[in-house]
């Protein structure tokens, strides 16, 4: 649940927007009658309404047959560029921790002005790679596959 981890998104300076085909009136009722019982204070970010799936269609996540949106999650940088997305069919939920990890990695790369890259499974504090001629064929010396996993 993104709402539960919202303070961590805020810490990273990330704005959250949720969107479904439901009307804003239903959003209000869902927040009031269910979500506020799961998350203290209810949903802290704007819940957007996409009646007819017009916006979802443009993002390629509107499922026409069912008339709903897939679980599409887009990470958009301060320049409005999509840095990453993930799209799941409705029955499987996302992993918010992975979203936060990706945001931290994209922010790290952006702050390094592209001089650093984050290898598989990177988390803040783990070593990054500095791509360049000297690194070619030498990644194995500075990075071990075990670093991709959290113990």
């Amino acid at each position: 649940m993104v709402a539960e981890k919202y303070p961590e998104f805020q810490k990273l300076g990330v704005e959250v927007l949720s969107m479904s085909v439901d009307s804003v009136f239903v959003h209000k009722m869902w927040d009031a009658h269910e979500l506020s019982k799961m998350v203290k204070g209810g949903i802290p970010f704007p819940m957007l309404s996409d009646g007819g799936g017009k916006v979802g269609s443009v993002f390629g996540v509107y499922l026409e047959d069912a008339g709903v949106e897939a679980r599409g999650r887009f990470l958009i940088d301060p320049d409005g560029i999509i840095q990453g997305f993930e799209v799941l069919t409705p029955p499987v939920g996302r992993n918010v921790s992975e979203t936060l990890r990706q945001l931290q990695a994209f922010q790290h790369v952006r702050n390094s002005k592209g001089t650093e890259a984050t290898p598989s499974g990177w988390r803040p504090g783990k070593p990054t790679l500095k791509p360049g001629p000297d690194l070619v064929g030498k990644v194995w010396e500075v990075w071990k596959t075990s670093m991709a996993f959290d113990k």
Binding site: G51, V55, G80, G84, P91
Partner: protein, 84 residues
């Protein structure tokens, strides 16, 4: 940033704004080969849109481009009162 909207009887709706992504390019020789599916791509601009929203007791209009300068996590989901 986001102006409040009045709740009337009509269901507020929004939609994409700005230049159309799937603008049909003029192809003089061949007539329509395939429907160009507007697909978003990493490394490309997110299509701008405006949409009504519920936010902490208020109904507002949200425009994606108002968030330029900030990171945004945009999350679509199937529907309110569903289970995952």
């Amino acid at each position: 940033m986001a102006e409040e909207i009045k709740a009337g009887c009509a269901r507020p709706t929004g939609g994409p704004v700005g230049e159309k992504v799937d603008d049909k390019k003029e192809t003089p020789k061949q007539e329509v080969i395939k429907e160009v599916k507007a697909m978003v791509t990493v490394g490309k601009k997110a299509p701008d849109f405006i949409a009504p929203a519920y936010h902490k007791g208020k109904f507002i209009n949200v425009k994606l481009s108002d968030y330029l300068g900030k990171w945004v996590s945009l999350c679509f989901y199937p529907g309110d009162f569903t289970f995952v």
